[in-house]
């Protein structure tokens, strides 16, 4: 392993980390703006032109707030909780291919931190770890509402992870690989997986709403029933970490959706663009396309949040166990039968 490789990966990690934090920061601003415009309002417009400095102001506010750690809480776990939530949210970005390999000064640089051959499983592992931040924080608060919320988050995530996994299996039957890089490369040009797996995509999307605890599945922070949910007892930047983790999760799951189903950095006419822009700029253009897809999904998350009311808890469980899981299994069977027919006849 040469130093060039380490420096290259280090820069890539730093850039991706920085970008995901900035996007999470501005997602809070975008969320408020989207909410405002969907409700015929203006949203924050006082801090800087068009309120562009609002996330900074919010960040400063969060840091300045008094920090309260309840005396009856499990102090150590109370502190670990938000950190874990943020950490699990951030490490998901490691396996996502951000662009096709880029040529810089005669050197081919892959725009992906780690092309591991179990990329999809890695994403699943990280996503299911994400609920630990919520659970530990909710349990350590020593508060009934927080505990209830933590239980809700855990059971919700477990139920929807099953449907999510099953919806992915149908996709894997088609791709024959778990490496995200290869899955993306198979979707060259227009051959996006969503065209072959529309039902699988729908199930995956609904499940990722549930996994990120976003409306209409934001039962863990259901304020009418549970005050603030798992972060009731949190204040200052610890609360900020939880809120931030939610937005990073949203970013990561948007990236995963774009990668698995919407062709990642592929776009129609990319071969022509590759000859036009050359090996340095064409991959960057692909990355920009990927980010456009990601931003669309983030907008979609917000659009849904400000449209659909929250599910009741039994409705959530009914939808997960009686709706999505049978659908996902049916999807696997249909996909398998179609593939078998296509390969043998």
């Amino acid at each position: 392993m040469d130093t060039g490789f380490i420096i290259e990966k280090f820069i890539l990690v730093a850039v991706i980390f920085g970008i995901s934090l900035v996007i999470a920061m501005y997602s809070t601003y975008a969320e408020r703006k989207v909410a405002a415009y969907l409700q015929d309002r203006l949203g924050p417009d006082r801090a800087g032109p068009f309120g562009i400095l609002q996330p900074l102001a919010d960040g400063i506010k969060m840091f300045m707030k008094e920090e309260i750690i309840p005396t009856t809480s499990n102090r150590w776990l109370f502190i670990v909780g938000p950190g874990l939530a943020l950490l699990c949210a951030c490490i998901g970005t490691a396996v996502i291919p951000w662009g096709s390999p880029m040529e810089i000064g005669g050197k081919i640089v892959p725009l992906q931190v780690a092309d591991i051959n179990v990329g999809v499983l890695y994403i699943f592992g990280v996503v299911s770890l994400g609920v630990y931040g919520v659970m530990i924080g909710g349990w350590a608060s020593n508060n009934k509402y927080s505990l209830l919320s933590a239980i809700r988050a855990a059971s919700q995530n477990i139920s929807y992870e099953i449907a999510m996994g099953l919806s992915i299996i149908a996709l894997l039957l088609m791709t024959n690989t778990l490496s995200l890089k290869e899955i993306v490369d198979q979707q060259h040009g227009w051959r996006w997986n969503v065209l072959y797996q529309p039902l699988g995509f729908l199930i995956f999307m609904v499940c990722s709403f549930a996994e990120t605890n976003r409306a209409p599945f934001d039962l863990p922070e259901c304020e009418t029933e549970l005050i603030g949910g798992y972060h009731t007892e949190y204040s200052s930047m610890k609360l900020g970490f939880y809120l931030f983790a939610e937005y990073i999760n949203m970013f990561v799951s948007s990236a995963v959706m774009a990668t698995l189903y919407f062709g990642g950095y592929n776009y129609p006419g990319m071969d022509y663009m590759a000859t036009l822009l050359g090996p340095t700029w064409a991959p960057l253009f692909g990355t920009a396309v990927l980010f456009a897809k990601i931003f669309f999904f983030i907008f979609f998350f917000m659009w849904v949040r400000w449209t659909i009311p929250r599910f009741r808890y039994d409705q959530l469980m009914n939808l997960g166990w009686k709706g999505l899981i049978p659908l996902a299994i049916a999807n696997i069977i249909i996909t398998g039968v179609v593939i078998a027919i296509l390969e043998n006849f």
Partner: protein, 167 residues
Amino acid sequence: MESLSNKKKVLEQKPLSFMEKMYLPAIAKGMGITISHLFKKEATVRYPEVEREFSTNFRGMHSLKRDENGKERCTACGLCALSCPAEAITMIAAERKPEEKHLYREEKYAATYEINMLRCIFCGLCEEACPKEAIYLDGPIVPADYLRKDFIYGKDKLVEAPLEMKK
């Protein structure tokens, strides 16, 4: 019981149909409604920069009026303070000296006149109670401030500008 108005509607709870159970048609409809609002003009008025148009009988900040010769109309009779349901008005009366004849209309005048704008409910009863037509709530919105003491408005803020200054 027989409904007299004939407006009573008996609702029965039906189990969800298949389409309703899918949620998706209803969700798509709702999403269509919200996205259509994205392109509508926002109802917000950017207040400190832009002010909404008020109706003609809008009651804003009080002003103590002068008569046509520029003399203060208020005689400190105290009827406004008496009528005030929020007890926001206080005043101290004083006797007019001969050399102050051009300042005050009657022999008695208000040496201090204070309205606590945090107490005031802008009902306009003071304006109705005043026999001298000395107080009117015809000003703008009372601005925000940081300290409670700054909301007690004295004569410096309430009395109308003198005639020559008006011109």
